[in-house]
């Protein structure tokens, strides 16, 4: 990332329901459960995470988007690997 890009990153108005493409790989926190299924909530978009280990919640993971419904801002993703921890 160039110096200018670092200063300009985030300038603008960001949606509260980000959209993702199937096949896309993202890094995000697994944030909780919907029933028994782990989910990653990104803004107000909710991804159901398949194949997550038991201690996945509140840790950052690499996820592969499997499907995404842009109308109700939900999707499914596959858990690939743990890549980071919560700050606390």
């Amino acid at each position: 990332m160039s110096l200018l890009e670092k200063y300009l990153a985030g300038v603008g108005f960001r949606t509260n329901t980000p959209a993702f493409e199937p096949g896309e790989e993202i890094s995000a926190f697994v944030t909780g459960y919907d029933g028994d299924t782990p989910v990653a909530r990104i803004g107000d978009t909710v991804l159901r995470v398949e194949g997550a280990p038991a201690d996945a919640v509140d840790a950052r993971a690499r996820l592969k988007i499997e499907s995404f419904d842009a109308t109700d801002h939900t999707g499914t993703a596959t858990y690939l690997e743990r890549v980071g921890e919560s700050a606390f």
Binding site: L3, A9, R14, G43, R60, A87
Partner: protein, 525 residues
């Protein structure tokens, strides 16, 4: 031999496993349930409000005493063996969050004092003199110059003291409105506290949200500049509308303090900001800044070696007497309290010692709250009842940080206390670490300089009182003092920065998610 080595290895492995188990399993049960685990932090916040808010004592070591007593009181509510409680204090203190903040503060302190020893304030005085602005423009220019100083030295309190001692009386003599002038100084302090990579609050905001300091500085520029441009315009307009006081007898306060060459430290500050934003480790970035500052001090005769590092040995030590030609060694009367080490490197680092001890104790108290379930209870309440979508989550983070900082005078302490909530609520919505750090720091900086009991306002007022009847300030009377309760509406940059974040939280301006981009290596704080 082989057997005994193996058995030793086994013992070590077992000890390590025990320690790991203790770390992961050791929940502490409290009489009164999880709520009682909030006693150490809760009592500390109460102490901080009483000490700093009600009694107006801005003494960081006083807060250390409060936190120590709170930890002892909390222990009496812990069930079973108190060893677990005691071990949790150690566990909290050894967290990386505390260690990284401490390292960055020590370096920042050395840098700040070295550019001050090198006459950076004198350089700003020269700039003000050179621009020879009138009464209407003076508050706006004071805001810009105070912001520059605060961005360089990272301490809003230090900026407030330096500017209240020099620019405040100078502005009054020119005919600027005192209340507006004091507000402009505090606004400059807010700007630097928020943006400077060497600011204690910037450092805490980055390390508690798992973000690198350089990236945090770059990403908060967009908010700071919007608020600063509006604040500058505000001081221009108000400056032409609010009149000053007639002063009989005059003196040029700024003349004699001006050192044009002191502005060379803009380069020292530039080096730190540039290298940090380029992604170099903050220790490396500030070290380069210290080297450039020290070299400039010596090259331009702004400060001597002894101003930066000085051994003051007792004069009955023969070796010291014979080596006293060394630029960093001098002798002082044996047995006097002058014996010791001094200079900007020493004083800059030492200035942070009380805050370092306080930070270690607060994170220990926070750990007890986490182990006792109190943290989770408050977090669940916020997530289930208040922060129920991303906009509300961000608004909660802004208002939560602002209100804790409005209550606790010493804003770094308030920031450390609220940081875990900002981290966890933000993570539950995958809000990017840079954004979380920006929400945390902007509202910490802003609210620390507005209300009458805020630390920044108090240090400025204390400095102002020393002007009454001081040598060369015979004209400065009690009537010229700005009562701390008068200044709050005029800290334009503070209010605007808070406003920018309320609008940002409600509209998504500047919002980034974890999935949008990652912080640079976490080690690169």
């Amino acid at each position: 031999m082989v057997d005994s080595d193996e058995s030793k290895d086994g013992e070590v492995a077992e000890e390590l496993a025990d320690a790991r188990r203790a770390r992961s399993d050791s929940r502490i049960e409290f009489y009164g349930g999880p709520a009682a685990s909030t006693i150490p932090i809760g009592l500390f916040i109460l102490w901080a409000i009483v000490q700093s808010g009600l009694f107006r004592i801005g003494d960081t070591t006083g807060l250390v005493a409060g936190m120590l007593l709170s930890l002892i009181v909390g222990m009496f509510f812990a069930k079973g063996d108190w060893k677990t409680y005691a071990n949790t204090i150690f566990e909290g203190m050894t967290q990386k969050v505390a260690a990284t903040a401490i390292v960055a503060w020590l370096w920042a302190g050395m840098f700040a004092d070295t550019i001050q020893a090198g006459g950076f304030v004198g350089g700003l005085v020269w700039a003000a003199d050179f621009l020879s602005v009138g009464a209407a423009l003076f508050p706006a220019i004071t805001f810009v110059l105070a912001a520059l100083l605060a961005t360089g030295i990272g301490t809003g309190y230090g900026t407030t003291i330096a500017f209240t001692g020099l620019f405040f009386p100078a502005g009054i003599l020119i005919g600027a409105n005192p209340v507006l002038l004091f507000g402009a100084i505090l606004s400059g302090a807010v700007f630097g506290d928020n943006l400077a990579p060497v600011s204690d609050t910037t450092i805490v905001s980055a390390v508690t949200q798992d973000a690198d300091i350089g990236g945090v500085v770059a990403s908060r520029f967009k908010y700071a500049i919007v608020a600063a441009v509006l604040a500058f315009a505000g001081y221009l307009v108000a400056g032409s509308m609010m009149s000053g006081i007639e002063v009989s007898g005059s003196a040029d306060v700024l003349a004699g303090q001006a050192t044009a060459l002191g502005l060379v430290h803009l380069a020292s500050i530039g080096v730190v900001i540039f290298t940090a934003v380029r992604g170099r480790h903050i220790v490396e970035a500030i070290s380069w800044g210290i080297i450039v500052a020290a070299a400039s001090n010596l090259a331009f005769g702004l400060a001597s070696v002894g101003d930066m590092v000085l051994f003051r040995a007792p004069d009955n030590v023969a070796l010291a007497e014979s080596l006293s030609w060394l630029p960093f060694l001098t002798t002082v009367p044996a047995g006097s309290d002058q014996v010791g080490v001094g200079g900007s490197i020493y004083a800059g680092a030492a200035g942070f010692f009380p805050l370092i001890v306080l930070t270690l104790l607060i994170v220990a108290g926070a750990r007890i709250m986490i182990r006792g379930g109190g943290f989770e209870a408050i977090q669940d309440f916020l997530l289930e009842r208040v922060a129920t979508n991303v906009r509300r989550a961000e608004t909660t983070m802004v208002l939560g940080t602002a209100s804790v900082n409005a209550m606790i005078t010493i804003n770094t302490a308030a920031e450390i206390a609220i940081a875990p909530y900002v981290a966890r609520i933000g993570e539950r919505y995958n809000i990017n670490g840079y954004r979380r750090a920006n929400i945390l720091d902007a509202n910490t900086s802003a609210l620390g300089y507005i209300f009458p009991w805020a630390g920044g306002v108090l240090v400025g007022y204390a400095e102002m009182r020393t002007l009454v009847g001081a040598e060369n300030f015979e004209w400065f009377t009690n009537e010229m003092l700005v009562n701390p309760v008068e200044v709050w509406p005029f800290v334009f940059h503070g209010w605007l920065l808070f406003g920018v974040f309320i609008v940002s939280a409600l509209t998504g301006f500047g919002l980034e998610y974890v999935s949008d981009r990652e912080s640079e290596e976490v080690a690169r704080v």
